[in-house]
């Protein structure tokens, strides 16, 4: 009889402790899932641009961005080997590790594609926190199109953004007359460690001089890398 009681007590506490353990595991798993923090991105990048009937330009580089220190580094290999570092109020150009040019202004790295990708604000093109107001949201097949109206007091045009599969697909800018002045497509998203990054951005701008085409391609994307510290913390002579 006594043995039965002891057995019951042991089983009771064992069951209870298992339940508590289960809860703890659930809490920890949830914390690790929701607490996923994207703070670094590096990628090969190429920017091809051409004015219709005019000269083209090509930039080939490797880009490093650290969100925590807000430092953006372009290690350019073409057209000429140089390193661009954008940090705080400075935009610096280094050639052979020596500071070649230093311009100052307000920091703007937070407005770049890389920052927006890391902090998840790319989907609305930053318009949600701007004076633009949503006029309508419509669905066309798998595309959700949002029309953004500018403030009435300003003579600006509408901006249309579209999302496919909960990711930004396109941005259209119009002038105040309702004519399209720019089309951008964000495509071929790559899922890198749970972060969606567009690997091809195509842009057409409609100007009085003709159309301007630009294709930005990202490849070999790495998230939260702990390698290449010298590039993430680039300074004169560090490379």
């Amino acid at each position: 009889m006594l043995w039965l009681i002891v057995q019951f007590i042991i089983k009771y506490f064992l069951r209870k402790s298992l339940i508590i353990m289960g809860f703890i595991c659930l809490i920890l798993a949830n914390k690790s899932l929701t607490g996923q923090h994207f703070y670094r991105i590096e990628s090969d990048i190429s920017i091809k641009s051409k004015v219709q009937g005019g000269e083209g330009s090509l930039t080939v580089a490797k880009v490093y961005y650290d969100k925590t220190i807000k430092k953006l580094v372009y290690d350019i290999s073409f057209p000429e080997r140089e390193v661009w570092v954008v940090e705080d109020s400075h935009s610096r150009i280094y050639r052979d590790g020596i500071l070649y040019q230093d311009e100052t202004g307000d920091p703007f790295v937070e407005t770049t594609l890389f920052h927006k990708c890391l902090d998840g604000s790319l989907n609305d093109f930053g318009l949600r926190n701007s004076p633009y107001q949503i006029e309508k949201v419509e669905r066309d097949g798998n595309m959700v199109i949002t029309t953004w109206n500018p403030p009435q007091q300003l003579n600006l045009g509408q901006i249309l953004t579209s999302m496919v599969n909960n990711t930004l697909y396109g941005v259209i800018m119009k002038n105040s007359s309702g004519n399209i002045v720019s089309r951008q497509l964000y495509e071929n998203y790559s899922n890198v460690g749970g972060l969606k990054v567009p690997t091809e951005i195509t842009q057409v701008m409609y100007t009085p001089d003709g159309e301007v085409y630009q294709v930005i391609t990202l490849s070999n994307i790495v998230i939260n890398s702990v390698k290449n510290e010298n590039m993430y913390n680039y300074s004169a002579g560090s490379h």
Binding site: S49, G56, S57, L58, T59, R81, E138, D140, L160
Partner: protein, 177 residues
């Protein structure tokens, strides 16, 4: 008994006429339903036709762009393998750089126009950081971005002044009872 028979016959007649009325009513309802369904189908078709135009706005002739940038793609492939710079290729009179500028992001900076023809300063002044983003993304021009940055600073300063004036006015207009 006769009376009962007559009553039963009358009841049957009433029932039959009720059933006829009911069937007629159902027929009318079904006919109306048909019309309503048809009307909805037509409306849906028209509406989907209207939306189709919105999706079309987001299409770009990528084949044409690929063809326009094919020379640059060839150059990109060559550069990635050879590690050559623009000056190297230019000194060799390489045909790949025949119609290529040696500057970074030149195509957009060469336009020299701010986004939507609106001053970059205004973009920064009125929209702050998102305005700055628009200028930076659209123009890729450091000068235009700089103007937008100054606009952003000026806008912030003006907002701060207005806020201080407003707070001051509030403090001065406080009524004590």
């Amino acid at each position: 008994m006769v009376i009962n028979y007559q009553t039963h016959e009358a009841e049957t007649t009433v029932k039959q006429s009720f059933l006829i009325d009911l069937s007629e009513l159902l027929t009318i309802i079904l006919k109306s339903m048909k019309r309503i369904i048809l009307l909805f189908a037509v409306l849906f078709y028209l509406a989907s036709g209207a939306f189709a135009g919105s999706k079309e706005l987001f299409s770009i002739d990528k084949e044409m762009i690929r063809s326009e940038l094919s020379g640059l793609s060839d150059l990109e492939n060559y550069v990635k393998v050879s590690n050559a710079t623009f000056s190297n290729l230019k000194s060799e009179n390489n045909a790949l750089v025949a119609n290529v500028s040696g500057n970074n992001f030149t195509s957009l900076t060469s336009m020299g126009d701010p986004p939507l023809g609106i001053s970059s300063f205004i973009w920064g002044f009125c929209f702050g950081v998102p305005g700055l983003a628009v200028v930076y993304i659209v123009t890729e021009d450091s000068d235009e971005t700089k103007k937008a940055l100054w606009g952003c600073v000026a806008g912030t300063a003006v907002s701060a002044i207005i806020y201080l004036v407003y707070v001051n006015a509030l403090v001065n207009s406080t009524v004590y009872y």
